[in-house]
Structure formats: structure tokens, C-alpha cells
Amino acid sequence: MQHEPTSPPMISVRGMSKLFGEFVALDRIDFDVSRGEKIVVLGPSGSGKSTLIRTLNRIEPHDSGTLTIDGKLINDKTDPIQLRCMVGMVFQNYNLFPHLSVLDNCILAPMRVRRMSRIEATTLARRYLNQVGIPDQADKYPIQLSGGQQQRVAIARALCMQPEVMLFDEPTAALDPEAIVGVVSIMDELSEQGITTVCVTHEMAFSRRIADRIIFMDQGKIVEITPPEIFFTSPKSDRAQNFLNQMLRY
């Protein structure tokens, strides 16, 4: 793997569009994400944020334009399994498997996809469960955990695949304020470890703290891409200004 400063961007998106029937969800999107960079995607509801990050691991295949990840062109000929080994994802509703224990949630994919042995996968899973702060919950079922704990499991489960890129789709949207603090602090820790991250969120303080750049979206288009210190103080566009005014009012 290349680590020179001249290495190509981890993610490169050019002219990407996505339609749901007549509705244009993504309209000719262009952006790059460097290796190790933290990107936060902001924007009002229905602006295409979630659709955008779902195209990055092809859970929603794009209709036109190109997507390149780690120098590889991603299209319908790409093996989706290889792609998803490289790009992990955490959802708003955790999407844990309720019939499996916390540990089994974490080791299923490493064993089935990465062909790890049970012992190997368990060692790895315990390490990440420890990292997300719930080492004692390994044998419980998801239903026995609080929302915040479930989201930590979901993060650990994604990390067990040792991805190069992590996608977060509003990871704190379903949590109460106390749980948000916990999950955000884990994401802070992750960002320090240098994993490439694309995160859709409404957590403004968190965005400002961890983001290298903010992507602001509206109506399926990228309105601006700016460093957080500029975005939160003097955004270039009126729409971003309006959005921030509304967000900060609460």
C-alpha cells in the first residue's frame, strides 16, 4: 500500500448522478477525499447526504459519473464484497443482527468474508469492543443494550473488517444526548487513528472539531466544500448561511 504524500486520493468522485425514478437524488457530484482525511457532509433533510455516502460502498449504485476508491474504478463489474471489505459503514439505526450476540455480530463478517478462524475473529472483536468501551457486553443480545451501546457495537462490528474507509450515516440521530456524547467521543478517538472517514451528521460541534473539510449539500448538489473554521464562521453560499442560522437557533 502506498503512503507517499503524492499518493492518489482515497476516494475520487467525478460527475456522479443518482436518480430515483424522476427524482434527481445526486446531481453531477465532484469531490476527492485524501487518505486519512475526515469529511463531514452537512445539509438539510432530503439534500442527498445519505444517498451520497451510500453510493461510496455501492449500497446504492450510482447511475452515471465515476467513482474511484484507492485508485480502483468502482462500477457494476467491481466485486461488491471486496469493496465492502475496504469501506465500512455505520447506520443511523445500528442495523445489528438481533438473533446474534454482540460478539457474534462482530465476528460473522470476519469469519464468512475474510475467512478468519473463530479464535482470530474473536480476539479482534474483543479488541474493538474494548476500544468502543463495552468489553463486558460481548455475550449479550442487542435487545439488552441501550441505543448508545448498540451504536458502539455497530462501530466495533464495522471496524472488525479493518476497513480503510469508514462511512457514518447519521450515527447519533437516533440517540439521546447522553448517548451522543459517548458515541461522539469514540468517533473522536477513531479520527485520531487516521482512518479515512466520511460522516453525515447534524452534530455541529463534533463536525467542527474533527472535520478536515465540510461538504455542504442541497437539492442533490454540492454547494460548497470548505474547511470547518471557514464554513462555520463565514460560509460562501447563502444557503449554507441559512442552514447554519437554522441549526444554531436550536
Binding site: 460502498n57 438473533h99 464468512r112 464495522a158
Partner: protein
């Protein structure tokens, strides 16, 4: 003999072959060579197959425990015919309503089941008379005799369904209505012993039967029955053997029956089964006259091989059919749940609607009696009632199971598939490791329900001669008249089977602790 003339030209042309065939028959024949005749076309591969409903003693009934071997006057006559043609006799037993459709479908060469010779039946089939009889109207002992059929006006009368008695009583009813009197209320029952039982328990005033059967029942039931009237109806004076229409076969059968009559064979059988005289003949098993529950009869039924065998057939038909149904229904449900329209989806939707809509009984009858007319392969020996039932019930049940599976699959949160595919799991793993285990929990209770239903629905297969538990029970009841005891024994078998599967369901459900927070907590404590 008439058949001789039909055979003559053939014999002249192929004399050496015929001579050789004669030698073969002589070595293979079980009985006297003197009787050897060219067999009619309904004798296939040296086998004469007859269809019978063995609930009509003394004509055709099951004496012992082995329901696959009926006995009686009809069976002995069939054996005598088979001997004449140097053929082996094979007896197929089934519900009365299945007899004529089976004859049409070439499942048997002859129907011999104590059936009246009727002009209406001869429109579709040929008939050969072999036994004289008379129609009788029978009531309980102590009921005054009738002088005319008109006196049945307004009374309940029981008859066996599928028989010609119903048409005949319809004629009487028409006359009653024309004369301004209330008609008889006709109740139909699927077996003869149930018809008799209605009189015994006093639900109906009388039943209609033939004197031959009545002689046997009179001895069996001692003093409980009494002939109310023997109306002089010419149409009801003969029992006939029915065959598919074929002039040569008809002549051959007629001459064979005439020969059996001439050489005294039939007379000997009449005496053996006391067909014409109620006072002689071998003993009919009598019933215990008391109204008390006969525990000995109950336990002997419960431990009999006949019941055990019937229960095993019921259980294996239900298990195999449901297994096939589930196997078929899962992929169908997945296709039907997919959002895309496709030709396959439309075809499968049609399949599910058709087999949910059509009555199960109709599907059984269709597969057994109608399909062989288009595909002769289905009338061959390998296609047994057991296979036919499994085929019909698998298809029928798969349609119901598709709906259960569809509901269970859509009840699984779509986020599960999303989460699993984001982890890189293959389609196969997504289904087998993530979706199916969750859908299984939802589908289990309705699936066990379906299975219990299926276990009981197997009893419909008696119409296509499957000797499952309820068919066995009815045949045994026809023999002994121990209704309560035999029904109770059957009930015990059904309950034991059903309770076992309910117990299994509970055990499996206990493994779904993950679905219930309270359960998980209490287990952990």
C-alpha cells in the same frame, strides 16, 4: 360361449403362438387349466385389478386388522373371475365416490363393490349382473312396518352418498310433493355403517339399503333393526360388476359370470357369505349391546397394527408433503417479495392464487382421476395413492406456505439486509445467516399451525384409496360397529401426534430468547 367366436380367427392365424401361450398359462396358472380362457382387455400383465369400497359387508369389507385385504362375496367372485383368466387379483380400496372416476381413469379393470345395476350408470359404463337383491327400507326394532313409501313423508331418511338410492328417493319425493305432502328429508353419509348408525342412535327414522347387506347387519346388530318395507322397484333388483364400455370385454365378463353360476361356484359363495339367507353362514362379529364404553375394544384398536399403520401413513404423508411445500415456498416467496415485475413473478402469483383457491379435496381427485386421462404415465403402478397424495398436498400446501413465508420475510427489517451487505456478506450468507433465522422465528407458529392442519387434511386422501388413519378407522367401524371406541382410538392417535409437534414448537421457541428482552433478562438472572 360368445367369446370363443371373437377369439377364433386370431387363434387360427397364430396357432403356434397361442399354443405356446397355453403352455405358459398352464405353468403359471394357480388353478385348473380347464377354465383357462383368453382374458379380457381389462386384465393387464396377468393382473385383474378391481376397485372396491370395503365398508359394505358381506359384499366387501375388512374382517381383520389388515385394511389392505378386504374380504367378502364380491372379493371372492373377483378371485373366481381372476382364476378363470389365469390372472392375479389385485384389490384397490377407496371411498365410494372414488370408484367410478377410478374406473374411468383405468386405475382398475372392474368396480365390484355391491353396486346396483342402474340404466343411468350404463350410459357411461358396461354392467354385468351377478347377484339378485332387493331394496329395503330399514328402521329400528319396534318401528311399525310401512305399507307404502309415501308413509316416509316428512321423515328423516339416511343414505350412503354417491349411491343411486338418492336418485330413487328423489323420485319418491317428487311424487310426495306433487301430492301436496312434505318430502322426506334425505341425509347422506359417506359410508354404509354411518348410515346404519343414524338409525341406531335415533337421528333418522329409516335408512335405505339392500337386503343382502341388511342380512349381515341384522346378525351383527342382533335385534336392533327391522325391515319397514321392501318396495317393489324393478331397478333395484340386481348387483352388477361395472367395466369400461367395450363390447368384447362385456361379452367375456358375461360368459365368465354365467359359467361361475352354472358350475355352482357363485352358489357356494352365497352360502359362504350368507348373501341370501340371514340365518346361515359364517358368524358376523357382533357388537356389545350395552351403551357403555367398551374399554377392551378401545385398547385393542389403540394397539392394533391397522391403527398404527394408518397413523404412520398419516404422519409420513404430512411430514413429506410439508417438507416439499416449505422447500418450494421459500424461493417462491423471495421472488414474490422482490419489487421488480417479471414474467416469472406473474406465473408464480397465478400458481399461488390457483392452489389457494381450489379445494384440497378437488385437487386430490383431479390428480388421481383426471390427470391420468391426459398423461397415461400417471396410471402406472408406481404412481400409488401415497405418491398422489404427497403430490397434491405438497402443491396445495406450498401455496399456503408461500403466504406465511412472504409475511415472515417482509417482517424482517430491511435494514438487516442493508447492514449485512455493507459488511460484505454474500447474497447466500445474507439470507442464510441474517434474514432466514429472523424470518424463521416469525414463520414458526403459523407453520406449525399449517402442519397440524395438514396432518388432519390427509384424511381427505381416503377418496383416492390412501389407507390413512381415518380411512382405517372407518373401515374398522364398518366391521365392528364400535363407533365410540374406534373414534376415540383415532382421536388419541391424532392428539398424540399434534401434541408432540406443539411440544416441539415450544422447545424451539425457547431458543428465540434474543427476541424478548424480558426473557433474556430472566435467563441471565
Amino acid at each position: 360361449m360368445t367369446s370363443f367366436f371373437f377369439r377364433l380367427p386370431l387363434m387360427q392365424r397364430f396357432r403356434p403362438v397361442a399354443a405356446l401361450a397355453g403352455v405358459l398359462f398352464a405353468t403359471a396358472g394357480l388353478h385348473g387349466l380347464a377354465h383357462a380362457e383368453q382374458p379380457p382387455s381389462f386384465v393387464h400383465d396377468g393382473t385383474l385389478t378391481i376397485c372396491t369400497n370395503p365398508t359394505l359387508p358381506p359384499m366387501t369389507f375388512v374382517k381383520g386388522q389388515d385394511v389392505s385385504h378386504p374380504e367378502g362375496y364380491d372379493i371372492d367372485v373377483a378371485q373366481a373371475l381372476a382364476n378363470r383368466w389365469n390372472a392375479r387379483l389385485s384389490v384397490v380400496t377407496m371411498d365410494f365416490t372414488g370408484l367410478f372416476p377410478s374406473l374411468s381413469a383405468q386405475r382398475c379393470g372392474l368396480v365390484m363393490s355391491g353396486i346396483i345395476r342402474m340404466p343411468s350408470r350404463e350410459k357411461s359404463f358396461d354392467a354385468v349382473t351377478y347377484q339378485d337383491t332387493a331394496l329395503v327400507v330399514v328402521g329400528r326394532k319396534g318401528t311399525p312396518s310401512l305399507t307404502s313409501m309415501d308413509e316416509l313423508s316428512g321423515k328423516n331418511v339416511a343414505v350412503e352418498s354417491g349411491t343411486s338410492y338418492i336418485t330413487r328417493l328423489g323420485v319418491v319425493n317428487d311424487a310426495l310433493v306433487a301430492a301436496g305432502k312434505p318430502p322426506m328429508i334425505i341425509q347422506q353419509y359417506p359410508t354404509e355403517e354411518q348410515v346404519v348408525q343414524q338409525v341406531l342412535i335415533g337421528r333418522v327414522f329409516a335408512f335405505v339399503s339392500q337386503d343382502v347387506e341388511l342380512f349381515y347387519r341384522m346378525r351383527q346388530l342382533k335385534d336392533k333393526l327391522h325391515v319397514l318395507i321392501t318396495p317393489d322397484i324393478p331397478d333395484y333388483r340386481h348387483f352388477a360388476i361395472y367395466l369400461r364400455q367395450n363390447p368384447q370385454d362385456l361379452t367375456a365378463l358375461q360368459s365368465a359370470v354365467t359359467a361361475l353360476e352354472t358350475d355352482g361356484n357363485l352358489q357356494a359363495l352365497r352360502t359362504k357369505w350368507s348373501v341370501t339367507d340371514p340365518s346361515t353362514g359364517n358368524e358376523a362379529p357382533s357388537t356389545t349391546s350395552s351403551a357403555m364404553f367398551d374399554w377392551a375394544a378401545f385398547f385393542s384398536a389403540l394397539t392394533s397394527t391397522a391403527f398404527l399403520h394408518g397413523a404412520l401413513i398419516t404422519l409420513s404423508v404430512a411430514l413429506i408433503s410439508h417438507f416439499i411445500a416449505i422447500t418450494l415456498s421459500v424461493p417462491i416467496a423471495i421472488v414474490l417479495n422482490s419489487p421488480q415485475r417479471s414474467v416469472l413473478k406473474i406465473v408464480l402469483e397465478g400458481y399461488v392464487s390457483l392452489f389457494r383457491a381450489a379445494p384440497t379435496l378437488l385437487q386430490l381427485l383431479f390428480i388421481w382421476n383426471a390427470v391420468p386421462q391426459f398423461f397415461p404415465i400417471f396410471r402406472e403402478q408406481w404412481f400409488t395413492p401415497f405418491l398422489a397424495t404427497i403430490l397434491a398436498l405438497s402443491i396445495n400446501e406450498s401455496a399456503y406456505q408461500v403466504e406465511i413465508n412472504r409475511a415472515a420475510l417482509s417482517a424482517v427489517d430491511p435494514g438487516q439486509e442493508l447492514g449485512a451487505s455493507a459488511l460484505g456478506l454474500s447474497r447466500r450468507d445474507i439470507y442464510w445467516r441474517v434474514i432466514f433465522p429472523q424470518a424463521f422465528r416469525i414463520a414458526l407458529p403459523p407453520t406449525i399451525n399449517e402442519f397440524i392442519n395438514l396432518l388432519k387434511i390427509t384424511s381427505l386422501a381416503s377418496v383416492i384409496s390412501l389407507q390413512e388413519l381415518l380411512a382405517v378407522t372407518q373401515i374398522q367401524v364398518a366391521r365392528t360397529f364400535a363407533f365410540t371406541e374406534y373414534y376415540a382410538a383415532a382421536l388419541v392417535y391424532y392428539l398424540v401426534m399434534v401434541f408432540f409437534f406443539l411440544f416441539l414448537q415450544k422447545r424451539v421457541e425457547r431458543r428465540f430468547a434474543w427476541s424478548d428482552r424480558k426473557k433474556v433478562v430472566s435467563n441471565a438472572a
